[in-house]
């Protein structure tokens, strides 16, 4: 009878419109600057084409391997119950907020030239493997995205009602039939979205390519922008590459929008289902192996960062602590900017049917950080010293990059809140700040804390725009750590990596726990 979606009461729309316009203006002005400055007459050189090819090839491999491996891992997690399962599922969420450069250091310790794997191979008399080049980049991307894909698929798996499994058990269906009747249709639904998401994320990969790629055979577009900019100071070529990056990543992101599933970072995945199938010893053994492999693959690099970092803490120079302070400032600024932009935008989106404003948030996902950085550099350079603005620009870009995720966290909860309590608020004539202060912010508190933690951690660990803008006097912690690695001061870099890891996870924990503490249902 009554269409409740129509009757919900919305907070004022204009602040959200203003925030959305600001986001669009920030991104579109960078785009305009890049297009204006792009030297189209020169076209794309051989190096550019090979960067495009490498970008697509590595993203394809990364997506296929991440999701392909996630299928058996998610399946094993979905149908097994064991001590530490909840902890492992939580751990699967960690790589998303892990500073890329710190994790790369861990991967180097395990798979690098003198890493644990090569030590083992050497003891067996086998030839060493190299982590640099295509397979190194793909390895790192799988490290980051296998857990993400596993969580997405696990979510899909757990959406199968328990009654279906009961029915399957009642009919005494074997593992193959359970797979065909229940799991295959589900995979057909969930896998394309997961593939698309990982592919888009890997298309704009920079820090991984910077550290493990490089050279003519392993340069992503994002890295090529950086090199054109930093080594050749060829703004025209950087601009051309930025346009290419935008067309490629933006195009794929827009296409993938229809596939990409709602990202749920929340809890609930730790709820194990009662299953009656797959009780055979072989099935159990196989699941155990998958879970063990995934855990080891996830934990080893982290253990390596921890071990090397503790050993290297004494070698950390003062510049690292200065950079750490700068990074904390950048992360907190990003959180503040995110709050100012995301809350009004969420309030604009939540009462309405899906539409344009959400797309503005996703602009940030399709526009790569280095493209935005290049554009703003072009705009800022004639009027001010870009290096002086390195930290504010980094904070702002990091907030924009977090925005699509943050909106997906905030909007559903805000929508529910308005549906449940919008009428009551309106009946009591609550509006403006009173509505935010007494209803919306308290109801959003856990989600807001989670979103702030995510933004802070991503911003803390980001190595992107800062690499374009910074001069030797200014650096964030990830950049300072990269410089130490470039100077082969690996002990100091390991110490910095540990500090970075602690800061990123710490900022996440502080906000997330702060949001959940005292939140009433």
């Amino acid at each position: 009878m009554a269409d409740r979606a129509v009757a919900i009461i919305a907070p004022r729309a204009w602040p959200g419109g203003l925030a959305a316009a600001a986001v669009a203006a920030l991104i579109l002005s960078a785009l305009a600057a890049v297009v204006w400055r792009a030297d189209a007459s020169r076209g794309l050189g051989a190096g550019d084409w090979s960067a495009i090819r490498f970008t697509v090839v590595q993203a394809t491999w990364s997506a296929v391997l991440s999701v392909g491996l996630a299928v058996p891992v998610a399946r094993a997690l979905a149908r097994r119950r064991f001590a530490g399962r909840a902890l492992l599922v939580t751990l699967l969420g960690a790589p998303f907020i892990l500073p890329v450069i710190a994790a790369v250091l861990g991967l180097l310790a395990v798979f690098g030239r003198a890493g644990w794997v090569n030590l083992g191979l050497d003891a067996l008399g086998a030839p060493p493997v190299s982590i640099y080049g295509l397979h190194g980049v793909v390895l790192a991307h799988v490290f980051f995205n296998l857990p993400l894909a596993t969580r997405l698929l696990l979510q899909a798996w757990q959406s199968i009602p328990v009654e279906r499994f009961r029915l399957a058990a009642q009919l005494d269906l074997g593992p193959r039939m359970v797979f065909r009747t229940l799991e295959w249709p589900l995979l057909m639904q969930a896998v394309p979205g997961a593939l698309a998401l990982v592919f888009v994320i890997c298309l704009t990969s920079f820090a991984v390519a910077l550290t493990l790629g490089g050279g003519p055979r392993a340069t992503t577009i994002e890295l090529a922008i950086y090199q054109a900019f930093r080594f050749d100071f060829d703004l025209g070529r950087a601009a051309v590459l930025s346009v290419v990056q935008l067309v490629l990543a933006g195009g794929v992101a827009v296409l993938a929008l229809w596939f990409i599933p709602p990202i749920s970072f929340g809890t609930g995945l730790d709820r194990p289902l009662t299953r009656w199938d797959a009780r055979g010893g072989g099935q159990r053994g196989l699941d155990a192996v998958w879970i063990l492999l995934a855990t080891v693959f996830l934990l080893l690099p982290l253990v390596a960062v921890l071990g090397a970092g503790l050993a290297g803490l004494n070698d950390v120079p003062a510049s690292v602590w200065r950079a750490a302070a700068a990074s904390i400032g950048v992360a907190l600024s990003s959180v503040a900017v995110m709050g100012v932009l995301a809350l009004p935008m969420a309030a604009l989106i939540a009462p309405r049917r899906r539409g344009g404003i959400e797309a503005v948030g996703l602009l940030g996902l399709s526009a790569s950080p280095l493209m935005i950085g290049t554009g703003w550099f072009i705009l800022i350079n004639p009027v001010a010293n870009p290096a002086a603005l390195a930290l504010p620009v980094t904070a702002l870009v990091n907030a924009l990059m977090a925005l699509p995720f943050v909106l997906r966290i905030l909007v559903p909860r805000l929508r529910d809140t308005l549906l449940q309590y919008g009428r009551l608020g309106a009946a009591l004539d609550m509006r403006g700040w009173a509505l935010w202060r007494w209803v919306l912010l308290p109801r959003l508190r856990p989600q807001l804390g989670f979103a702030a933690g995510l933004t802070g951690a991503l911003s803390m660990g980001d190595l992107g725009v800062i690499a374009l803008f910074a001069d030797p006097e200014r650096a964030t912690l990830p950049l300072q750590m990269y410089r130490l690695m470039g100077a082969y001061r690996m002990e100091a870099a390991a110490g910095a990596a540990l500090i970075l890891l602690v800061l990123a996870l710490g900022v996440f924990w502080v906000f997330d726990a702060g949001g959940r503490a005292g939140a009433d249902t």
């Binding site: 009946a427 009591l428 009173a434």
Partner: protein, 236 residues
């Protein structure tokens, strides 16, 4: 129709929602307690929602004391409404929830606080002022919501079955509280109900909603003792 001068007038009101259509052309007199009854899906809640400003009108006007309130925001209308559920904010204390009836921004003066304490005392919740609603029983939650209605002190109280989830005895208690409240404040009452017992307990008049039409209020006793065919079919 008896009682005082008309205070609420629905002037050739129509509500349309997709295929659903409801017409109402009626007045409610000052101080009357009116039950709204009818089959489920007939549009009782929609009618109350329209009166309180939550459902837009397709045509017609709503008048209060002769003044047009058709476009007035819900919170600025002269009525206090309780919904079927979600009448209290679960993250605010009982006292804060009641306080919202006085000040939507909760900037409460000492006098305001005294009124809140008095209202809570009246409904027997004095010792629960600092408690969150989730810790209260269903009946206590209803009392807290009624305490807020009492401090709002609006001339029309609108109830969209807020006590439907309570057992018969508790519901009766609540209705008696409502009756005392209206008597004390001289307020009019509009309430949706499903049970003829409730109508006999509290209502002076009945608005029967059926077949896309909200009929004008009829004296409750007459209507229940001598129902027209449609109402008889509904009552069974």
């Amino acid at each position: 129709m008896q009682g005082g001068a008309p205070v609420l007038t629905l002037d050739r009101v129509t509500i349309e929602q997709g295929d659903f259509r409801l017409e109402a052309d009626l007045t409610v007199a000052s101080g009357r307690k009116v039950a709204v009854i009818g089959p489920s899906g007939a549009g009782k809640s929609t009618l109350l929602g329209a009166i309180c400003g939550f459902v837009p009108l397709a045509s017609g006007r709503i008048l209060w004391d002769g003044g047009d309130i058709t476009r007035t925001a819900p919170g600025r209308r002269p009525m206090a409404m309780l919904f079927q559920d979600n009448n209290l904010f679960p993250h605010l204390s009982v006292a804060q929830n009641v306080g919202l009836g006085l000040r939507p921004d909760l900037r409460l003066s000492p006098a305001d606080r005294d009124r809140i304490a008095l209202a809570l005392d009246r409904v027997g919740l004095a010792q629960y002022a600092g408690t969150k609603p989730g810790k209260l029983s269903g009946g206590q939650q209803s009392r807290a919501a009624l305490a807020r209605v009492s401090v709002q002190a609006r001339p029309l109280i609108v109830l969209d079955e807020p006590f439907a989830a309570l057992g018969p005895a508790l519901r009766r208690d609540m209705l008696e509280l409502v009756r005392d409240l209206t008597a004390e404040q001289g307020a009019s009452l509009l309430m949706v109900t499903h049970t003829p017992d409730d109508v006999r307990l509290i209502a002076d008049d009945v608005i029967f909603v059926d077949g896309g039409r909200a009929h004008a209020p009829q004296p409750a006793a007459d209507l229940l003792d001598n129902p027209p065919p449609a109402l008889r079919a509904y009552l069974g």
